[in-house]
């Protein structure tokens, strides 16, 4: 299958290794990956902060960039949820009926990574090797907007060497919430503290999730505390194999430049 990869603005700019891992994983599973060069952002941050008018050209660019793609995969529950639930609504409100219809059609072909692997490709064992103790945080938009359910857990359970430990109060929000993390920084931090306490209680080496944004928030907190536990995106774990071992163990926020080049 020819898969168009939507990296998302955040991953593209500050966590390139997540998109690279997604591409490597899909190629390893025998699919052709293309990266439409016109891609930028799904518009979610603008919509969720109240700039829905300003989001219109962003969404339009997204629709243009992926027009013609057979299937689109993205390593972000949150952005895929926005594509499914917000894009057409925003366009329609702006009177862009034609574009809204195109966005809807595009949304139907757009998948979050774990949903694509399990539902479309029908695989749970992607042949990964990741010899670490890992806990999984189900991000809110994966959980409640996309309803990915236990698909990420199915994928993680099939990873060789990986010890999966259950995260207490897993379904509680980590407190990221986009611009909420800045506008309501104190409340966001209080929520993050409880999330970190639960993560640390598992004694996991790694906390994983399907959203780089939430992981940047959680990882930033864990790094600030010098906790020794780090955050790694689900795609990076699934991309790891015996031949291409997972990134070097550091306690910096997992999202960082130095790990961008996962060996091919």
């Amino acid at each position: 299958m020819r898969v168009a990869l939507f990296a998302t603005c955040l991953v593209d700019t500050v966590a390139p290794q997540v998109a690279m891992a997604t591409a490597r994983l899909l190629e390893r599973l025998g699919h052709e990956v293309v990266v439409p060069p016109g891609q930028a952002c799904c518009g979610q941050m603008h919509v969720n902060t109240g700039y829905r008018r300003e989001a219109v050209p962003i969404v339009a660019n997204h629709v243009r960039a992926f027009a013609g793609a057979e299937v689109i995969v993205s390593p972000s529950g949150s952005c895929v949820a926005s594509i499914h639930h917000q894009q057409a609504m925003v366009l329609r409100r702006a009177g862009e009926e034609q574009l809204a219809a195109e966005a809807e059609a595009l949304a139907e072909r757009t998948y979050e990574l774990s949903q694509f692997l399990v539902d479309v490709l029908g695989v749970t064992d992607v042949g990964a090797y990741y010899p670490h103790r890992v806990t999984y945080h189900p991000t809110c938009h994966s959980l409640r907007l996309l309803r990915v359910g236990d698909r990420p857990l199915q994928l993680l359970r099939a990873v060789r060497g990986l010890e999966l430990v259950e995260l207490p109060a897993a379904e509680q929000c980590c407190g990221f919430g986009g611009t909420f993390s800045i506008k309501n920084s104190d409340t966001s931090t209080a929520m993050l503290t409880d999330k970190m306490a639960n993560i640390l209680s598992t004694h996991a080496e790694v906390c994983t999730a399907g959203d780089a944004s939430c992981l940047m928030h959680i990882g930033g907190g864990l790094s600030r505390l010098r906790s020794g536990t780090r955050t790694v995106h689900l795609a990076e774990i699934l991309a790891s194999t015996e031949d291409a071992v997972s990134p070097h163990q550091t306690t910096r926020p997992a999202i960082s430049a130095e790990t961008a080049e996962v060996p091919a």
């Binding site: 919509v47 050209p57 339009a60």
Partner: protein
Amino acid sequence: MTTAPERTGPTPLAPGAPRSGTTFLGLPTAPRGVGHLRGDRPFPDAARDALRDGQLRANLGHATSTIRAKRARVVGEVPDWEALRQAGKALKTATMARLDEHLLELERQVTARGGTVHWARDADEANAIVTRLVQATGTDEVVKVKSMATQEIGLNEALEAAGITPHETDLAELIVQLGDDAPSHILVPAIHKNRAEIREIFLRTMPQFQGPDADRDLPDEPRRLAMAARTHLRERFLRAKVAISGANFAVAETGTLAVVESEGNGRMCLTLPQTLITVMGIEKLVPTWRDLEVFLQLLPRSSTGERMNPYTSMWTGVTPDDGPQEFHLVLLDNGRTAVLADEVGREALHCIRCSACLNVCPVYERTGGHSYGSVYPGPIGAVLSPQLTGVEDNASLPYASSLCGACYDACPVAIDIPSILVHLRAEHVEAQEKLTPEAAAFKALAKAMSNPRLWRLTQRAAGLGRLLARGKPTMPPVLPPPASGWTRSRDLPTPPRETFTQAWAREHGR
């Protein structure tokens, strides 16, 4: 120590300020200067103080986790919960679409059965009607059933100003009233107080514990505290001539009103006094008697986490020789029609005040209800209060959410609270006449994100931020605002030398 705002009077009105705003259709919002829909400071500021209150955090954490578990258990045992939820949602949508017709039918039925219906445009008018009705009976005290509508309009303050003493009879409302405090939860207004704090309030304020001969033996067991409230109120129930209640539901086709409660204080108020005055928001009605079969299943399990609450009272007008012989129903607008005018936001009027959304909200659990500044806190309050007052009077509330969506899943009538929050954020942004720095930034970013070439340049510029990191894996922990909002508690990773699209293009020879 908790940080309850003083609740001595209504929100102050600045000199020269307009009494009320209007929507684009010219529909007035709830007036300023009366009632409790507006806080005196933005949510983030109030929340900052609440977050430091360890006792409050402990009380809330304990209470909300208890109720969450109870709710999950009793909702889990109902095999057709989702069908009930969808029926509830559709019933409310249908009700709103014909609200005027249903209200007129309700009025006809209540009147035909011996009740009197009054209409109130806003809080001031409702307060005046109730005060006049109480004065007409010649009494100077009333017993009250817990009611969000009367809290919203500041009825107690209005009655007190007229020399009438309102006695709150719901245990939590009593705790709040005796403690000179403000409610912080829709269902359990004193959720922010623990048993020891409640014991202290009772010992300090209840007449039965005063005087040299008083038996001040009051352990902090909930059962004993409830018994103290029983003793405190028993005589007041028996002597009261007038009761004031809200209503959980009103059935248009029959004129039936319903109050759902637990303690029996509601039954006392609805049964014993000669006169009953019910203040009800115009959105609380259902078209037919049969519709209650849905809501009487949805409400108790969602609110107290019980299969059914101990008491539900239903009455229609006046029943000879049984209960109050004079019944007044006050139908309250107070901004509700302004909410109704918003095609997205009107769904907030579907709320049946169960408070399930508060109990599952990670923000409410940590900040408590007072941070919201309105009698309607939590997720539903964050969409309802700004709409009742006009979004500019509660502009920080739509942002008081991480949009995690737990409220939507818990809502028994499936109100899409996150979508309304996002909608109200846009209403706020679009109401700004001047260009704010934030708006300027978002507009510039939007321009970049709409144009791939410009976006690549922007990414490259952002990448230059790594120079500030001086080769370290994270950015400096002290950055200027607004980035400081992030870096105060979280490291920010140093941007990479190369974006993903750059790396991909290089690898694939473009």
